[in-house]
Symmetry: C2
Amino acid sequence: MYEIQVFVTLKEAVLDPQGKAVNHSLNQLGYSEVEDVRIGKVLTLTMNGEKETVEARVTEMCDKLLANPVIEDYRFEIKEALAQ
Amino acid sequence: MYEIQVFVTLKEAVLDPQGKAVNHSLNQLGYSEVEDVRIGKVLTLTMNGEKETVEARVTEMCDKLLANPVIEDYRFEIKEALAQ
């Protein structure tokens, strides 16, 4: 059993209006020290599989479904989890 | 200058229909080894401030705006970043 955390973030060149809105709200609330906010996703996958193939399979999933390679970058961390 | 990564995830008891949909799609695409998917947010804040107060300020921001404490948990990591 593996627990994989996939971090999907907008590429740096891509505008992030949601982040800008949160940045603005934080400034309005008095947190004027905040200069930039970027918002991404974190997906936690629980999956079975062979140790050797997990990384390749998750890379495939990211390319096919989890991230949009035109505007997003992704990275992931694989942890072995105890079966419950 | 600090770079803070805030991870906001749904509490375990809260249903995650978006995660369920992604889980289902992955299974349909042939990734039948995926058993569960949970989706959260990752916010990257760039901010100034004093080392001693950054942690308390970010905790406040999470409680007030960035997370919904009724249904979400959060945690964050603070990294010192070089001013550009």
